[in-house]
Symmetry: C2
Amino acid sequence: MLVVKKFGGSSVADKERIFNVARRCAEEYQMGNDVIVVLSAMGDTTDELLEKAAEINPYPSKRELDMLLTTGEQVSVALMAMALQFLNVPAISLNAFQVKMHSTARNGNARFKRVDTDRITHELENRKIVIVTGFQGVNHYGDYTTLGRGGSDTTAVALAAAMHADKCEIYTDVDGVYTADPRVVPNARKIEEITYDEMLELATSGAKVLHNRSVEMAKKYGVELVVRSSLNTEEGTLVKEVAKVEKMLITGVAADKNTARISVMGVEDKPGTAFKIFNTLAKHNINVDIILQSVGRDGTKDITFTVSQDDLKEAMEVLEARKEALTIKEMNYNEKVAKVSIVGAGMLSNPGVAATMFESLSNSNININMISTSEIRITVLIDEKDADRALVAIHDGFGLED
Amino acid sequence: MLVVKKFGGSSVADKERIFNVARRCAEEYQMGNDVIVVLSAMGDTTDELLEKAAEINPYPSKRELDMLLTTGEQVSVALMAMALQFLNVPAISLNAFQVKMHSTARNGNARFKRVDTDRITHELENRKIVIVTGFQGVNHYGDYTTLGRGGSDTTAVALAAAMHADKCEIYTDVDGVYTADPRVVPNARKIEEITYDEMLELATSGAKVLHNRSVEMAKKYGVELVVRSSLNTEEGTLVKEVAKVEKMLITGVAADKNTARISVMGVEDKPGTAFKIFNTLAKHNINVDIILQSVGRDGTKDITFTVSQDDLKEAMEVLEARKEALTIKEMNYNEKVAKVSIVGAGMLSNPGVAATMFESLSNSNININMISTSEIRITVLIDEKDADRALVAIHDGFGLED
């Protein structure tokens, strides 16, 4: 059996944790399995490197930033190989050049195009544990790229897909995917199995347990993921195409506080106005989430939408700069908002889900500002201060603890 | 004009020094020249990485150690590129994979086999300063190698040779090659020009200003080297095939305190005994320097030789283990010794040089234990405590200050 195991930066932050991971990998190896390990940079290494760069140049080129950041994972994998060798387990570390992990050109936000398997296969055949740098690729110029935060999950899935692994385990500091954040909703329940689509909706709705691009790729290549804790041996959550039916309408509820609302008012009520506004934002790589448009009146209309808080400043500046061309009369924003979403394949065939959600919020006296839905997700925008209460109310309303 | 500039780890130890180097390179670039910069790891980075490795595994594999150490130079070059970009000078950093610097397979002590020029040429044609990681290569397995301490000098020479550079400048913390170490001999004089052979003999005799393998390579490919300071704009020392005749018998004097003497006594006085002893050491990669063999008596003889202090422990263990087979009756060693050498092409045609050297030592009451000579070098082994006095005495004896 071939197993891919991915460990995040906190799992390899110091000597003790490195050996903890090494021992887990050694156990798997000693059961006769082939093992590929994917690692992130140790602890806060990436942030420290970013600080070093900022000291030299507040606006470093992304190409050079990737050249700098990729050293972080290389240190992790080399030390892990040494730890395994200390435990008398044959191991070899490989970076993105050595594997080779081909990616698109875009520095800081690349995507994998394909993964060569020759070198890894060769090392596995020699019965070595192969330790691969997460988060990084090589583009067609022969330069390092990085995949953006959380990219090591995607590296693990890409390797599992290319190598036809039997298992892809994502180790994290929680022991699986929960029906809600257990720190906010104490009676949240660990989910045994969840579909790719549900996981994807949860990941994009604020559940930070998996990088959403890794889930997309896992779905595309049919890689079954296991999310489990690096600190214990609990079973974890299985992410797959068809999950065991747990007789639940919804699978989980998540909150995303990294949200801001922007309203542009008095724009001309004619075709193309909204397009121009959102096209302007898209050109600056600003993702717009929920959109609400008022009915036109006096030849003008108001448009309200949400962006991530990270993009808020740039979004306001970009629109301000083109205010006249976009026929915007007035603009305002609110950072004190949060998205709360329920996700579940079960809601496809059950029209009462939205009503149950709104009832739970209403009973808790929580006002809904905006609503957005997909086939298996309902998202509401509420005041940020109400977010935690909303999670508890909805979790109880659907009886998710059982 | 194409100029290769190499800066050591202390020259890029912090932000201020990085910008000092960046400005020097920018000046060269702004004169219209093409510039390749070779950098070592920042400050004590390499030692810090070695400590990290030792924490995990006291005997890490050299392959993984190289994987770890090569991150050091990659951080340097990425930050230097950012610094140059901050000064509005186009720059790009390249590691050994990107260049590509092909080396022999041996981790920790590799040699360059050949250097690809396509990528560098392409970047220079785009009028970028190209910043290359020193000290590292890639072997035919596609793994990182390192060249051993001081290897960045060799990287600079290898690039200068491959790219047919017009100049290869080695920047260091002294402003050239001196007739003796100025910290020991205050009236030591900076040498304007020196031949490859003289430089080589000086480098292997304890003058730490250039890595001896880099001088060998420079001689082989006819790369003229300039040794100069990164802290001022002094002219420095030119290393070339035919140096300007400075009417000096000898060019310089150097001491090497990293020396130990080993004596093996009572070995059988028959052909092959010495061969067996030195072959045993060679198999363990222990270099033997000066050798002295006593005249046989009672069918036995004594052999005395020097090794570097780093190899002393292993040399003693290796010989001890094979004591009987090598017919050794007794062994002892002395770490408190030093080699003092004079080097100069002029001594080829002047038989009085050795006499002058010995007279200087005798006048200072310094005892000579062993003597070794090459065509352009005379080395004596003396007590370590006398080394500094010997340098001054010989420097004065030959009137090198003039």
